[in-house]
Amino acid sequence: MTTELPVLKPADFASDQDVRWCPGCGDYSILAQMKKVLPEIGATRENTVFISGIGCSSRFPYYMNTYGMHSIHGRAPAFATGLKSTRPDLDIWVITGDGDALSIGGNHFMHIVRRNVDVNIVLFNNAIYGLTKGQYSPTSKVGSVTKSTPRGSIDYPLNPISIAVAAEASFVARTIDTNIQHLVAMLKRAAGHKGTSFIEVYQNCNVFNDGTWDYAKDKETKEQTTLVLEHGKPLVFAGGTKGIRLNGFVPEIVDLANVAQDDLLFHDEKAVNSQLAFLLSRLRYPDFPEPIGVFRDIDRPTYDEMINSQIEDAIAEKGKGELAKLFHAGDTWTVS
C-alpha cells in the first residue's frame, strides 16, 4: 500500500530564514528556480540535502527547508562524497562559487567529478569573490582591476567547463541566472542525471562585478553571443542565421545564407569521447558565441554505486561480518 504524497509547492522548500543577499544579486533567481524545480521533479524535503562551501552563493542551504550544510571554504565536494557514499538514498546538491570551487576547492572539484559521485554541483560563477568584498577569482579575465589587483590581474583564467570535461565529467552544462526557463531546464536535467552533474551558472554580482555577463544576458546581444546546445542538432545561433562549422580541426562561424545546416558541427551530448565537449568549452566570447545547455551527458558507474556494491559483494562472499569470527581467525592460543 502506498501512501499518497502531499503535493509540495515552491514555498514549502523555503526555510524560515531571511535571505541575506544584496538586493539585485543574481543568486535570488537561482534560489527561486531551485524552489520551483524541486517539487516539480518530485523531490522531498527530507531526502534533499544542500551542501555548500563559503561565499555569498554558499549561504544557499540556509534558505532551503531541506537538510543542509554550510561547510567550509572549498570543501563541499568532500563532505558530499562522504555523505553520498554512505547514504545513496539522498538527493545531494552542492552549491559553490567560482572561488570556492576553482580556487581553494579546485582539487576536490576535480576529484568528485572524476569519481562520478552522484550529486549535482551548481557553480555560481560571478567571476569575483563576493563575500570577501571584491577580489578577482580564477574565472576573472586577465587585467581585472579589483581590490587585490589595482594594476589588473595577471592570472590566466580557468575555464570551468574545460576543467570539468578534462576531469572526466559525465554531465556538464552551462546556463544563466536570468534565463529562467533555461536555468529550470538545466536544473532538471542535472537532477535526472546519474553521476556527478556539473552546472556552471553565469551569475551577476551587482555589487562587485556588475555586468560581467551582460553580453550573454542582454536582449540585444544575447542572440549573437550565446548558442543554445541541442542534442543531435547542428550548432546554430543568431536566430538561425549563423552556425559553427569545423574547418579541419578549427571551429569557425559561418553564415547560414551560404552554408547548409548539414555542413555544420552537430552536437552530441552522448559522445563517449570528450573532445567534442572540450571543443565546445573553448568557444568563448567575443570570438564565438558561448554555448549554453548540456555539453555532455554520458553514463558511467557512480562512486557511491560501486562502493556500496563492493560491500554487497563482500557480504555475499563471506557472509555478514561477525566479531567473534574476526577475532578468532588465524593463530590463537588459550591460557586456562
Partner: protein
C-alpha cells in the same frame, strides 16, 4: 608438508631455563628481518610467552643495500612473566651484515650472544657500511660471546637440491637464521611451516627452499660446538582466556569495527595514506563484509571532510593520519566540532616537526591535537597505551563521541602501531553496548530544535531522510536551540562555554585514574605508548625501595576527575614523555604543580632504565632540597 617431529628433532644439548629473553634481529632492508621477527613473535606467543615487539626500519622503501641507513631491525622480548616493553638490553643480537652490527652492538648486554653472518664481512660489505676495518677482527666484538655463522654459504648449500638461482637462494638466508634462533630457544616450527605453505603456495620451489634453509639453521645449532646449550622460556601466567598476537594498528581497526557493531552503525573511513597510519586504512579495507566503507581521499582535508559528511548522514565516521596530515585537518575538525557531530580522528604520531622522521616514534602531537584549531576548540582526547589497548580505546572513544555528540581524537604512535603483544580476545557479549538515538519527531512542539541539549549537553543526531526534522548546520556561530546563524554576543559566549563544558562533562563518564604502586612520594604520570616502560620502571623503583606511584592517563582531555586529588597526595610529579614536555605543560597549567619531565626526543621509545634513572635523580634531588 614436513612433519616437524621428524625433521626438527628436539635438542640433545642441555637446556637452560630462563624467565625471559630479548632478541634483536638486524639486517639489510631486503634481508627479511621483519618477517623473521614476526614469526619469532607469533611462535613465542603461541607457546604461551608474553611478548612485546619493536620493529624499526628506514624511511626509504629500500635504502641502499649494505649501508647503515638501510639497516632494518626487529626486537622482541618473550617472557615467562607479564612484560610491558620489548626490553632494553639485548640477550641476543643477530646481525646479517656489518652495517647491522655497528648500528646495533651498543644495545647488546655484556652477557649477550652475538650471532653474525660471517659470509657478509667481505671487503665490499665493509665498504658499503663505510668501515675501515673489519669489526669481527678489529676488537669491536671482543667482549661479546660471538658466534660466526657462514649463513650465506650454508644456505646456498642447503637449498641446492631445489636448483634455485644463487640470487633466489640467498633470499632464504633469513629462514636459515630463523631455524638457528628457533633451535636456540626451543621454539615450535609448526606455525612457520604453515606460514611458508600459505605464503608461497603458488611457488612450491621457493617454499621448499625456505623449508630447507629453516631446517639447515636448526641443524646447524644442534651440530656446531659454538652452542653448548639452548634456552627455554616457560609459558607466562597470563589471565585465562584465548589470546591472539596483535599489532596496534590492527587492534585499532578491529576496535573501530567492534564499536560500529556495538552501536548498530556502519563504519566510514575517510583517509589519505601516511606512515605510520596507513595500515589502519589497509586493515579496514579488508573488512567490507562488516559494512566498512573506506574512502582513500585526494588529501587529508578531503578525508576529514568526507568523514564529517558521513557523520551528518548517520555513519560511524573515522579519519586517520599522522602529524603532517593532522596539521592539515585542523579546519575540518573545527567544523565537526561546531556542528557537534560524533566522529573519530586518529593521529598515529611520528617524529616531527614537518616531515620529520616518518618511520620513528614520538609523542609530540599532543599539543597540536589539543590546540591546533582556530578559536576556542576543545575536543576530547584519548591516548592508547599499548598495541592491544588500541582496541579498547577505539570503543571508548566512539562511546564518548556519540554520548556527547562531539568529534573525539585518538592518539597512537609509531611504536604502538607497529608493535605487537598478546591480546586476550574478549567475549563479544562482554563488550559494552553503545546506545545511539536518532530522533524521529520534532522536539519542541511542531518545531525541531537541532541544538536542543540533553543532560550531557548533547544535541540530537537527526538524520537526513527523517521527515519534519529538516535543519541546516554550518560553521558560523549558531543560536543555541535553533542552530540558526547568530551574531548575538551573549549567545556566542554561551556557546563557547557550552562546548567547553561538554568536553569537561566527559569526565563524569570516564574512569577515575588509578594509582599503581605507592600512594605517596613521587608520582610518575605518563600517557600513551610509554605505559610499558613507565610501568616497568616504577616496579623496579619500588623494588629498590623507593616511594613511587604510577598513574597512566588514557584520557588527556578531560583529565580523570580524581587526578587533582591524586596529585595533591604526592610530594612531587614526574612526567616521562617522548617530547619536550607536552603533558607536563598541561599538568602544570591545570594543577599548578611543578611537574618535571623525563624527556627523550630521539625517535625511539624509552628504555626502562632511562626512566628509572630519571625518577631516581628527581626523587633524590627533591629529597636533598
Amino acid at each position: 608438508m614436513i612433519s616437524a617431529n621428524d625433521q626438527f628433532p628436539p635438542t640433545q644439548k642441555p637446556s637452560e631455563s630462563v624467565s625471559g629473553v630479548t632478541v634483536r634481529l638486524a639486517g639489510d632492508s631486503g634481508d627479511g628481518m621483519q618477517l623473521l621477527g614476526t614469526q619469532l613473535t607469533n611462535t613465542s606467543a603461541l607457546s604461551g610467552n608474553d611478548v612485546a615487539t619493536f620493529p624499526d626500519f628506514p624511511a626509504e622503501i629500500r635504502a641502499p643495500r649494505g649501508t647503515t641507513a638501510g639497516v632494518s631491525g626487529f626486537q622482541v622480548q618473550f617472557s615467562a612473566q607479564e612484560i610491558f616493553t620489548p626490553g632494553d638490553g639485548l640477550d641476543a643480537l643477530v646481525c646479517m651484515n656489518p652495517a647491522a652490527l655497528v648500528t646495533n652492538l651498543a644495545d647488546l648486554k655484556s652477557t649477550g650472544i652475538l650471532i653474525v653472518n660471517s659470509d657478509s664481512f667481505e671487503a665490499k660489505d665493509l665498504k658499503l657500511a663505510k668501515l675501515a676495518t673489519n669489526p669481527l677482527e678489529d676488537g669491536t666484538i671482543d667482549k661479546f660471546r660471538t658466534i660466526k655463522v657462514p649463513m650465506t654459504s650454508l644456505t646456498r648449500g642447503a637449498v641446492e637440491p631445489t636448483g634455485l638461482s644463487v640470487k633466489l637462494a640467498d633470499r632464504c638466508k633469513n629462514f636459515f637464521a630463523m631455524g638457528l634462533v628457533f633451535w636456540l630457544y626451543g621454539r615450535d616450527v609448526d606455525p612457520t611451516l604453515r606460514f611458508i605453505d600459505n605464503k608461497f603456495s603458488s611457488k612450491p620451489e621457493i617454499a621448499e627452499a625456505n623449508r630447507l634453509a629453516l631446517k639447515a639453521g636448526w641443524h646447524y645449532g644442534e651440530t656446531t660446538e659454538d652452542f653448548v646449550s639452548t634456552y627455554q622460556v616457560p609459558a607466562a601466567e597470563l589471565e585465562p582466556g584465548t589470546y591472539k598476537n596483535i599489532m596496534g594498528n590492527q587492534a585499532l581497526a578491529w576496535g573501530l569495527i567492534a564499536a560500529a557493531k556495538l552501536s548498530g552503525k556502519e563504519l566510514f573511513l575517510g583517509s589519505y595514506p601516511i606512515t605510520p597510519a596507513s595500515d589502519i586504512l589497509h586493515e579496514l579495507s579488508k573488512h567490507k563484509h562488516f559494512g566498512v566503507r573506506t574512502f582513500q581521499a585526494e588529501d587529508e582535508i578531503a578525508a576529514v571532510c568526507s568523514a564529517v559528511g558521513a557523520a551528518f548522514g548517520g555513519s560511524m565516521s573515522v579519519t586517520t593520519s599522522s602529524g603532517p596530515g593532522i596539521a592539515l585537518k585542523g579546519e575540518g575538525m573545527g567544523l565537526g566540532l561546531i556542528l557537534e557531530l560524533p566522529m573519530i580522528i586518529i593521529d598515529v604520531q611520528r617524529g616531527g616537526p614537518s616531515t620529520g622522521l616518518p618511520t620513528k616514534t614520538e609523542q609530540s602531537d599532543l599539543m597540536m591535537t589539543m590546540y591546533g584549531r582556530n578559536g576556542e576548540s576543545p575536543l576530547p582526547v584519548i591516548a592508547a597505551r599499548s598495541p592491544s589497548d588500541c582496541f579498547n580505546v577505539a570503543i571508548e572513544a566512539w562511546h564518548v563521541a556519540t554520548r556527547y555528540m562531539t568529534p573525539v581524537i585518538i592518539l597512537s604512535d609509531g611504536y604502538i602501531a607497529n608493535g605487537a603483544e598478546p591480546w586476550r580476545i574478549p567475549n563479544v557479549s562482554d563488550l559494552p553496548e553503545i546506545k545511539v538515538n536518532h530522533p524521529t519527531e520534532p522536539n519542541d512542539g511542531e518545531r525541531f530544535l537541532p541544538y536542543q541539549r540533553d543532560e550531557n549537553l548533547a544535541r540530537p543526531w537527526a538524520l537526513p531522510g527523517t521527515p519534519n526534522l529538516m535543519h541546516r548546520v554550518g560553521g558560523l556561530e549558531k543560536q543555541d536551540g535553533t542552530g540558526n546563524v547568530s551574531y548575538d554576543p551573549h549567545n556566542h559566549q554561551h556557546m563557547v562555554q557550552t562546548r567547553a563544558r561538554k568536553v569537561e562533562k566527559v569526565a563524569e563518564f570516564i574512569d577515575e585514574a588509578k594509582i599503581e604502586g605507592s600512594m605517596e612520594g613521587t608520582l610518575v604520570l605518563s600517557w600513551g605508548g610509554t605505559y610499558g616502560a613507565c610501568h616497568t620502571a616504577v616496579e623496579s623503583c619500588i623494588a629498590e625501595g623507593m616511594d613511587v606511584g604510577h598513574v597512566h592517563l588514557r584520557w588527556i582531555n578531560p583529565f580523570p576527575r580524581n587526578l587533582g586529588q591524586i596529585i595533591e597526595q604526592f610530594d612531587r610529579v614526574v612526567v616521562p614523555e617522548l617530547n619536550t614536555g607536552q603533558l607536563s605543560a598541561l599538568i602544570r597549567q591545570r594543577f599548578l604543580v611543578d611537574a618535571r619531565g623525563i624527556n627523550k626526543i630521539q625517535g625511539k621509545p624509552f628504555h626502562v632504565n632511562e626512566i628509572v634513572d630519571g625518577i631516581r635523580a628527581f626523587a633524590e634531588c627533591a629529597v636533598s632540597k
